[in-house]
């Protein structure tokens, strides 16, 4: 994976929908994503929702831990950049997120 400072960030993939409900459920809320042709909904909850929310807000990998920590009320070192990167990579593999085009 590219280093945190060099990563261009993420955006919702074309053909996918997303509904953000920060106040739902556990701390961090829920974020729902779905491919719009099949409609199968994936639910991100708690910290996972918070990470995806920060990515969709345009934060790069270097900024996401601080954004997540602020939302969840924890210390920044408690949010492991490696775990954040793995989750976002999983969402890219799912098809929900795409790496932002730098050009």
């Amino acid at each position: 994976m590219t280093g945190p400072s060099a990563h261009p960030g993420w955006e919702l993939a074309p053909g996918w929908g997303a509904v953000d409900r920060p106040g739902d459920g556990d701390h961090g809320g829920r974020l729902y994503v779905a491919p719009l042709l099949s409609g199968e909904i994936t639910v991100l909850e708690g910290a996972a929702a918070s990470v995806a929310r920060a990515a969709l807000a345009g934060h790069g990998l270097a900024q996401i831990p601080a954004a997540v920590a602020a939302e969840l009320g924890v210390e920044v070192p408690d949010v492991e950049t490696e775990v954040v990167g793995e989750l976002l990579q999983e969402l890219v593999e799912l098809g929900a997120l795409t790496v932002r085009d730098r050009s």
Binding site: L12, G15, W16, G17, A18, V19, R21, D24, Y32, A34, L36, L37, S38, G39, E40, I41, T42, V43, L44, E45, A48, L87, E90, L91
Partner: protein, 289 residues
Amino acid sequence: MTSEGGTAGVRDVDLAVRVELCHAALQHLADLHGVDLLHVKGVAFEPRWRSSTTGGSDADVLVRPSQVRRLVRALEERGWQRRSRFHTGSPFGHAQTYWHDHLGYADVHRFFPGLGRDEGTFDVLWSARDVRLLGGVPCPVPDEAGQALVFAVNEARNGRPPRAAALGGTEADVETGVLDLVPRVHAEVAWAAAHGRLDAVRDHREHDLWRAVTQDGGRVEEWVARVKAERTLTGKALTVLRAPLVNTEHLANTRGHRPSPVEVGVEFADRVRRAALEVWRSRRPGAGR
């Protein structure tokens, strides 16, 4: 992270979330097939132009009339299941309902009851459209005057008190915008109904139909009004022919299974019995409105 079909289960996805994603999915499909859609009612509208605070239980869209077949074909190719037909869905014959296993119900309108059925009416609303982000997808919606008008006539159609359906308390520019819009989208009768002034449009062919739906008329009265409201002789003849037929899709929806020939027969006989009873009651001495 859980998938709706996996450990999270359907119960974990709120209806309001499904409806919003349903709007997004309809717009995506429309974009792929070059279809113009206006998203109407519920979450597509500003909160003050919604009938319920929850935003409704389905996604409603108004399709450019000349592109309805294209959208319907696209929906059915993508596995959306039709649950009602245009001519059986309501007295106005305006919408066809679809079901999606993940996204729930969508109502596809070929026109909006109370507004014109023509391409020109859609063009008027389309030319003044706004955009609302639903499920992360930009969705065209009527502008504020269009939303206010659709809300008012929809409230009237659902039998809500006329004064509640009117635009009392709204700012002057919105009301001016609506009053300007009414004749351009041929909404005079529905607008009169929304204000409890149907008598002022008594000569209009749609008057009786609006009286029947807003004053909870009987089924026979409604069918007579439907025939009268049709613009062409062919339309009138088709409406007469459909009147006694059983709405098998409605029957399937209420019973939870495809009705058998016996069930359809029983329903047909019951329809005839109820119609005869209604006619007899309406002709008794002292009956009438």
